[in-house]
Amino acid sequence: MIGSYLTWLALRAAGRALRTAAKVTAAAAAAVAAAPATIVAVYAYVLAWLLGWPPRRLRRAAAWCLPMVAVFLAAQALRTRRWGDTWREPFGSWRQMWRLAASGSIGAGLAGVAPVAIPAGLLIGWLAWSYRVFAMETGTGGLTASSPITFDLRQWRHQVRTARARIAAPGAVPLLGRRGDIVAGAVIRAVQHPMRDVARVPYQRLRSHQVVIGTTGTGKTTLLLRLWAGFVAAAWQRFAAGSGGRPLLVVLDCKGGADSRRVADRVRRVLRAAGAQATAIWPDEASLSLWQLPPDQLTTTLLALIEQGTGAAAYYADIMEAVVSLAVLAPCGPPADSAAFLSRLDGGWLATAHAADPVALEAVRSSARQIADVALRYRALFRRLGTGLDGPGSFDDADVWYCILEGTAETAVAEAQAMALVELLAWHAARPGGHARGHGTDGTVRQDTTSTVRQDAEILLAVDEFSAVSRRVSIWKLYERARSLGLAVQVSAQSWQGLAPTEDDRYRIAGTADGGFWLLRTPYPEPVCDLAGSRRMVDTTRRLLGWWLWRSDGYSRAHYTRVVDADIVRSLDVGQAAYIYRGGVSYVQVKRVVAGPPALPGPAHVLPRPPAAPAQPGAPPPGAPGPPPDAGPLLDEVFGP
């Protein structure tokens, strides 16, 4: 009985081996029979594996062979004059190939059948590669249980390599696509997004709110520059075609320091090439006027610039509000600059100004003892703010404003500046009608009110390193009313925590970011990954056979997993970003925007000052020209001695 059982086992094993051998033999025979197509299929499969292509790319390649096939069939039909038998030509060519191979002309045979073998091979390769990818994604493929993990990691590396090669090709990743989309870079991998070669962001999406999160050194500035350049270029195209308003980009760089100046120069060069005619760097080169705000809004803004307290300090805040209102809303009109405002913070002035209003006069008397304190606080504030908000100037004066706030060195000042700039911009966006810009004959920039052309602006406010000012700048409030103002807000921070001081505010910002999230490498991406949502995945368990072999039977189950893999985000390289939008993610290798040669000489971050005066009063400074030639005779002749 044992012998029969052993015999039965042996026969069963032999039967299995024979079945396997038969299958392999049949497959080999089919592969040899369809040899040219098989060779192409293997080549396509290996190429797809090597370059990390999605399967549909092979299918697309097969589709692009259709012109070749059409020419082949048409040429055959023309030669044989048998149009009805055209469909048989591929088989005829295949048979001809074997005949030529038998007679020693293998090359001629292969060349003769290539026009049909190539697309056929591509299709077979597509099927094979699709199956392989499916098997790995569901965990049913590979020799070991960890095969899918290894496969995925290797494919990621291949896809990154392919994406980098694509952005290195000079014409592969333009700044704008055919429909005016902004192209951020080459797509490495897409999950729940259509897989494309390049990452296109429609212009309208850039006109919605976006959030960019990434630590220092992850390529955040490169990504932001690309988005800004794309916005400017696309908006100018639309403006030129008459289908959009004049673009205005306002960047608040809340970090400050030498780096910000260097970035500002780079921004100017890049955006000039993209179409921005004038870039103003605030406050180094240009100024704005806080005092052009309407009186009520000016009062609110001035009060917001001073940090208020609670309890007894709240009472003081009420006094301050009363004093500031009296100063700004004086019958003679609002103040024109900070000096005028400070001069109004005087009991005598306020009493004189409001002499005709008994209620206001009483308020002046009540707050008389605190007026000097209020004046002191504002004097200190304006001294720290500098002259950047004292005008002249408005957002109409340039196409791009790069505002440098010293958030690292002087956080309180940066917060105040950010608040003021955001209020100014909101007012600028909400004005009933814009006018053309121009210079007055006295050199000041003013609006050309004789122009009857309304110039609506399409405004993008980009706040970089928002964490430096997030404590007091409630940008989420601007988010919520920005849509009606035609204003899009793009906030970038180093981390999720840097977006806002409280978790509530962070989710508020995230909740209104309907233009998508850009997530670069950050140590704690989980909250953002959660926001992206989840997707169904198939998980497969396989039974272990012996020491290291896995059986091909097991259990599969569907479950939900995050769309955005936090581990991938943590391992992103410099210049790589995950673009999260509507429950999907595209991992992108961002392409750097090329700018012209730098205007800043070397690492200088401020305007170089003229050489210091020499120690010797009479000696000319080094490098300075000598005394000029005598022009006395001409000047005496024309203007007298």
Partner: protein, 211 residues
């Protein structure tokens, strides 16, 4: 200094391109200094302050040309206009006989509709079109297209492009050598050309001068 003119139609003088007005070659290699020096030469020769009264009309043209060319971006615009045969959206100013017309200007704020896919850094903006078409449109268009294509090749990866073209040539010659005039030859050439069309555009540089 005489500014180059295009065909004179019934007494209306059309200025040439901004490059020709300043006596500069229409090339992307022209620098800011070249433009400035050319403007100074032209201004010195035509300024109305001259004892002989100068040439106010040419001075105004030169002034407009300098404004257009003084930045690299402006020169790119002007080169693109030449390459693509900019349309003259405004008729010539009609002046009484015997009198030189003033320099023509497009109405400020006139929108420009740009057709076709933009290159890496597309040219934007409703800038007034200063310069009409300098010559018969087809001549400028073809010459401009060829010049533009060669520029894009030079700025791209010419070595890779050359290899691709050689591959296409090899496929064509190889199939002709192996199968002669069989249907496979034109089919393989078609396939190779399709491949070249799909892949070669990635090796071309952007249309505009790199900034």
């Amino acid at each position: 200094m005489t500014a180059p003119q295009s065909a004179d139609h019934g007494g209306h003088r059309r200025p040439g391109s901004p490059f020709s007005v300043l006596g500069l070659p229409a090339s992307a290699e022209v620098t800011d200094e070249d433009v400035r020096a050319a403007w100074r030469r032209t201004a010195a020769a035509t300024h109305p302050d001259r004892r002989d009264g100068g040439d106010p009309l040419r001075f105004a043209e030169a002034s407009a040309a300098y404004t257009a060319l003084r930045t690299r971006f402006g020169r790119g615009e002007a080169l693109a206009e030449l390459a693509h045969g900019g349309r003259d959206s405004h008729p010539a100013v009609v002046s009484p006989p015997g009198e030189a017309p003033l320099a023509r200007q497009a109405a400020p704020g006139a929108p420009l509709a740009r057709a076709g896919a933009p290159a890496d850094l597309p040219r934007p903006g409703p800038w007034p079109r200063l310069w009409p078409r300098p010559g018969p449109p087809y001549q400028v268009a073809w010459a401009g297209l060829l010049a533009g294509a060669l520029t894009r090749v030079r700025r791209g990866r010419p070595a890779v492009l050359t290899v691709r073209v050689l591959i296409v040539a090899a496929v064509g010659l190889g199939s002709a050598a192996l199968v002669g005039s069989a249907p496979a030859t034109p089919a393989l050439i078609t396939g190779a050309l399709t491949w070249l069309l799909l892949t070669a555009r990635h090796d071309l540089g952007p249309r505009d001068p790199p900034y």
